[in-house]
């Protein structure tokens, strides 16, 4: 069977997420911290909705009732050079 990739940045598949939920990591933030999902360059744009869906299914809750991850700046990755006002 082929792997169902959920987080492309950190290379995490559905099976790993389900295993972690079964081990007791039932809050999105806990899953994020143990698997590093959503911590890569895309900052969770692809995986967050997918993970929330899996989490809802496994915990029997509705997606809207789950704790949502906080979005953190910047919106897109930016170089330290640009931030410090230097030309790249």
């Amino acid at each position: 069977m082929s792997r169902k990739i959920v987080c492309r940045c950190e290379d995490i598949d559905e099976e790993e997420i389900i295993k972690a939920i079964e081990e007791g990591y039932t809050d999105f933030e806990e899953l994020r911290k143990i698997l590093r999902i959503g911590m890569g360059p895309c900052q969770g744009r692809t995986c967050i909705p997918l993970v929330l869906k899996i989490l809802a299914k496994k915990t029997g809750k509705k997606v809207e009732d789950l704790n949502k991850p906080s979005f953190r700046p910047p919106v897109i990755p930016i170089t330290l050079g640009s931030l410090s006002g230097e030309d790249e």
Partner: protein, 380 residues
């Protein structure tokens, strides 16, 4: 429900206490108002440093390193412990004199630490530019290091559960029940939970928790900010810090560079909003220290809190007026690195009645009209 011990706070200290106390045979419940690691632990740099100015912190950190070293084996889970050292910049003659005194004290207590020159700064971490850092020297301790704060805390949780600890997340303690001058338990989710001991390990919220027991503590929550970059192959091993600039940064196990610095708009209180002024100040200082990093992208910027005590040292031990109420807070930004030893001392006190000199020197009573000895080696 009746427990021997109720722990308030699911950060590194609360979870370590849960593990140690339940391992010693006590019935433990841990209440976390949000999720595990939601406070300072999950937002910290997770450095482990033995280079301090006060004897207590040096010894607590030295003993904590010994525990960290064996912790993956003890808990049966990898905690990502790594000893890449801490390099502390020395910027001028006055700092050099202070550094010499501290190094002498640290060495006398058995810590492997030395003063290094600019050439050695470059050879230990080739990305550093000592001139950009405005450094004339540095101190270096190769046995300082880092552990993954998430992996470590979750490993404690797992082991604590195996030993019978009940862990309740999204459960805020609303009341602490007292009878005369003794704690009797807590009220959570409208349920009365009985306990002989209640431990306040609530980090930046410990002031609020202490108030539930009618205790005033002199702590202040202080907003801190941090950034993390994209992943790089390993380019340096040590944590780099400066007391003068307040900066700290290191390359984490996965390759990302994580760091922080006191921001221009730093303020006390519960403010979660990150500030642009911090971001710019951090980027400017970091690229001054390591110019090559100007090509590297930052991915994320967030806030967390220091739970600051008046002398920047932890407050631990049983309250003198409310029996059974245990203080474990005021870590002032150093809760992760000091947690193994501090929680060991507290667990031995609660489970075996064992005394320790630190329960006196770091007691809440030290602030009463006495001259306090401040920990000077603070960054971030």
């Amino acid at each position: 429900m009746k427990y021997d011990v109720v722990i308030i706070g699911g950060g590194i200290n609360g979870c370590s206490l849960a593990y140690q106390l339940s391992k010693r045979g006590l019935k433990v419940a841990l209440f976390e108002r949000d999720y595990i690691c939601s406070g300072a632990t999950g937002r910290c740099g997770a450095g482990i440093r033995q280079q301090w100015s006060t004897e207590e912190n040096i010894i607590l950190a030295r003993e904590s390193v010994k525990i960290f070293k064996n912790l993956s084996k003890e808990l049966g889970e990898d905690i990502g412990f790594r000893q890449g050292g801490y390099l502390i910049a020395v910027h001028d003659k006055k700092e050099l004199k202070d550094a010499e005194e501290r190094v002498a004290l640290q060495k006398s207590l058995g810590v492997d630490v030395r003063i290094i020159d600019k050439d050695e700064i470059r050879s230990i971490a080739p990305i550093l530019d000592p001139d950009g850092m405005r450094a004339i020297a540095a101190t270096f301790c190769p046995t300082d290091g880092h552990a993954d704060p998430f992996k470590t805390t979750f490993a404690y949780v797992k082991s604590a559960r195996k030993h019978g600890t009940d862990i309740f997340t999204h459960s805020e303690v609303k009341k602490i029940v007292k009878e005369r001058s003794r704690v009797k338990g807590v009220i959570v989710n409208d349920k009365n939970i009985k306990a002989d001991y209640v431990i306040n390990a609530a980090g930046a919220w410990s002031k609020k928790v202490a108030k539930l027991a009618g205790i005033e503590i002199p702590n202040t929550p202080l907003r801190k900010e941090a950034i993390v970059t994209e992943r790089l192959k390993r380019i340096f091993d040590c944590m780099v810090i400066s007391f003068k600039d307040g900066i700290y940064f290191s390359q984490q196990n996965e390759g990302q560079i994580l760091g922080g610095i006191p921001g221009p708009d730093e303020r006390t209180g519960y403010f979660f909003q990150p500030t642009f002024s911090f971001l710019q100040h951090m980027a400017r200082t970091l690229t001054r220290y390591a110019p090559v990093l100007k090509h590297i992208k930052i991915l994320r910027h967030w806030t967390g809190f220091y739970d600051v005590s008046p002398d920047a040292r932890p407050i631990i031990g049983e309250d003198p007026n409310v029996k059974g109420f245990i203080h474990c807070h005021g870590f002032s930004g150093h809760g992760f690195m000091l947690s193994p030893m501090v929680t060991k001392i507290l667990s031995e006190y609660i489970a075996d009645g064992k005394d320790s000199e630190y329960l006196h020197s770091l007691s809440i009573e030290r602030f009463k009209g006495k001259k306090i000895k401040r920990e000077m080696s603070v960054v971030g």
